[in-house]
Subunit: 220 residues, 2 copies
Amino acid sequence: MLYYGYWRSSAAWRCRIAFNLKKIAPEFVAVHLTRDGGAQRTEEFRVINPQKRVPALDLNGAVLTQSLAIIEWLEETIPEPALLPDDPWSRAQVRAFALAIACDIHPLQNLEVQQYLRGKLNLEQSAVSDWLGHWIGNGLLACEALLGSQPSNQAFAFGASPTLADICLAPQLYSAERFGISLNDMPRLRTLGASYADHPAFVDAHAHNQPDSEEWFWGI
Amino acid sequence: MLYYGYWRSSAAWRCRIAFNLKKIAPEFVAVHLTRDGGAQRTEEFRVINPQKRVPALDLNGAVLTQSLAIIEWLEETIPEPALLPDDPWSRAQVRAFALAIACDIHPLQNLEVQQYLRGKLNLEQSAVSDWLGHWIGNGLLACEALLGSQPSNQAFAFGASPTLADICLAPQLYSAERFGISLNDMPRLRTLGASYADHPAFVDAHAHNQPDSEEWFWGI
């Protein structure tokens, strides 16, 4: 199994956490998203994923894209440890939290959008920062509220063990820090961030601990 | 069961198709997204969904948000007719297609983003149209390619009956038309659009056929 990813892609990062939790290690193929216009935009990669995005999973020549689809597939084929609760309503709550990040925060901060804002729209850095602050800040505030009915002493978002919700939140918290978004009003999310920093599957999947990691910088 | 929605919200529309296919009829509560600053932004609605978005499903006071989480919950609690194939790899392909729309197209065209582009960034209509054309046009081209390995004579994206993929595609095709995006290079998507126009569950869920539908217009 081949896994096409990039150290700082939030979506690829989600998959890495899931691989670690499920104790599998697909062979990694680095797709450099920014060098020379982006390896994801080459004809060679377009054949793998017409969306020109990472992650992609190649299983004997058949390709699966989209981080949440990959993780749901892992969940169905390698059930333990479970990344979703047992009962349907709880599963739905975990998925809703994950989707609040994957659909309503991450798509507005990703590389391609930032390139459009800086390139085609010619926005100044301050306007790009306002954009990121708006979508990430308000999005994470909503996430904090979505956890309002959960006991605050849980190590993970929906219980004692990590779920799809945590898998999506961990890279998003990193992006928040990277883009200078304050988590002051989000005590629950800060506590979860501390849990992730202590969990081997999350630490190993961290952007800074990948074979293709580069020196951390704030630009895109 | 209460369903909070809005006639032209793509995400709410997805749920309506799923309700129809599963033959349930939750009581509808209209949330007008544009009148008086948007009913989704009131304190009253924030208690229902801190994301200030539709759809939301209220089941005896417990609330579930996010269209794909709602539909996966329906799939798990009302299995027939199935909206996902049986085998895990095929399920993943359907989910990947749905997510390519729900994560990579729709979030960049939705009302809140357009309001930001026009309001905070003060973009002219032509620049907003370019933005929509870029994300919707390229996104749907990728969707066309993602269906490349599917037989072209299927009535629906992944077979003879509708799946989560079709549920996400139908409202997105409407948005493409609304925003003037050409589907000339997407023969497969055009054929699928014709299937939806013929299927009662899709017709009944159409934006124009809702209790809160307003005269169709191109603005936001």
